[in-house]
């Protein structure tokens, strides 16, 4: 039986994919920060002979964490248009028109990302309710998130593709599975 999957490359990304990508980023950034702190502690204490406890909670450590998270999000967005989590889930951040995101807009988007968490994540509602599925930080930075699987085609599962094909409600490019 011939099955086909609809091509969704470049379409606005939905809430579930973006949420999963965000969790991956938080987990990865947190792991790198904690791991880096412990490694730095080891190097300073055991190798350099400097007595310090950079891995223990402190104001400086909090500032370092904020700086690190900013660098993680801003650096990856500015350089590649995607954070590691977004790359894994097949997402890319562009400006609203569909061009690559500038470093400045990537910085604005990164700074306003925490703001979307205010009021129980109200800033994220736009991803579900908005016409262009943009969160608050997307609106402020003028960005949009789309499906981008790199050299491979972003696809819908076959059953949903078949359903949409039957309904013919949208004009998707059909990708042969053969």
């Amino acid at each position: 039986m011939k099955q086909s999957r609809m091509d969704v490359s470049g379409d606005y990304a939905g809430a579930v994919t973006r949420l999963l990508a965000h969790w991956v980023d938080i987990a990865l950034a947190g792991f790198l920060f904690v791991g880096g702190s412990v490694a730095l502690d080891y190097v300073l204490n055991r190798i350099a002979g400097i007595e310090t406890t950079v891995s223990e909670p402190s104001l400086w450590r909090g500032i370092a964490a904020v700086v690190w998270l900013f660098l993680y999000w801003w650096g990856s967005l500015a350089l590649t248009g995607k954070t590691p989590g977004k790359a894994l889930l097949g997402l890319r951040v562009l400006n609203r028109e569909g061009e690559s995101l500038t470093g400045w807009k990537a910085a604005v988007r990164t700074v306003f990302l925490p703001v979307s968490y205010v009021l129980f994540g109200a800033g994220f509602l736009g991803i579900v309710l908005g016409r262009e599925r943009r969160a608050l930080h997307d609106v402020v930075a003028g960005s949009a998130v789309v499906y981008d699987w790199g050299p491979r085609t972003a696809e819908l599962p076959s059953p949903i593709s078949a359903f949409l094909e039957d309904r013919a409600e949208r004009e998707y490019e059909v990708v042969d599975d053969s």
Binding site: T17, G98, W149, P159
Partner: protein, 221 residues
């Protein structure tokens, strides 16, 4: 002092005189030439002479070295009929007496092999016929595969066969396929939620933009 018999002395002198006269009268060379030596030799019974001879005593007095010094070995060998000699040799019996191991111990195998023209030798080998005569099962039963494998440079073989690249490509492909499957599920759920919410909000799905403006014109991201 011994006393000489006068009569015996005179007779002796006379006999000597007669003998000298006879010798002078005889034609000895002619007489000798008339002797039939072969006939005389034929009449000699060698076996009887040998029976009455003490060979050991003769041989003790016999100087073999002197005899051999006067023998021309090359000339002697040149007169030997080798073919006739070999025809009388029992080769099998001779070979039975040969200690092959002792013989092989004295052979310089390397020097021998250096003289072998391996290419010419192999050209004369009928490989097909040779292989057909080999009992592979019996041969393999005698092979210690573990020892053989231990001697193989497996790492080098694996590298030269490009197996790491194949494994890497296969692994990458499998990982990519798995990730794509997860992505498809997420995208599917995204679409279901999106369509449900937009319907609840009373929006016409055909009127909603699917992608940024530039991408909608067919430009890739």
């Amino acid at each position: 002092m011994t006393e000489v018999d006068p009569l015996h002395g005179r007779v002796g002198k006379l006999a000597n005189a007669i003998a000298a006269l006879v010798v002078q009268t005889l034609d000895l060379p002619g007489l000798v030439s008339e002797i039939d030596v072969p006939a005389i030799v034929d009449q000699i019974d060698i076996a009887e002479i040998m029976d009455h001879s003490d060979l050991e005593e003769i041989l003790q007095d016999f100087d073999v070295d002197t005899v051999l010094d006067n023998v021309d070995i090359n000339r002697l060998v040149g007169r030997v009929d080798a073919d006739a000699l070999l025809a009388g040799v029992d080769v099998n019996a001779l070979l039975d007496r040969v200690d092959v191991n002792a013989l092989l111990d004295r052979v310089d195998a390397n020097a021998l092999l250096d003289r072998v023209d391996a290419d010419a030798l192999l050209d004369r080998v009928d490989v097909e016929r040779l292989i057909n005569r080999v009992d592979i099962d019996q041969l393999m039963a005698r092979v210690d595969l573990n020892a053989l494998i231990d001697r193989l440079p497996l790492d080098e073989i694996v590298q030269r066969a490009g197996i790491p690249e194949v494994v890497s490509d296969s692994t990458s492909h499998m990982v990519a396929s798995f990730i794509d499957m997860l992505r498809r599920v997420a995208v599917g759920v995204d679409l279901v939620i999106y369509r449900f919410v937009q319907r609840v909000m009373g929006r016409d799905l055909k009127e909603l933009p699917n992608r940024p403006e530039l991408l909608a014109d067919g430009e890739g991201s």
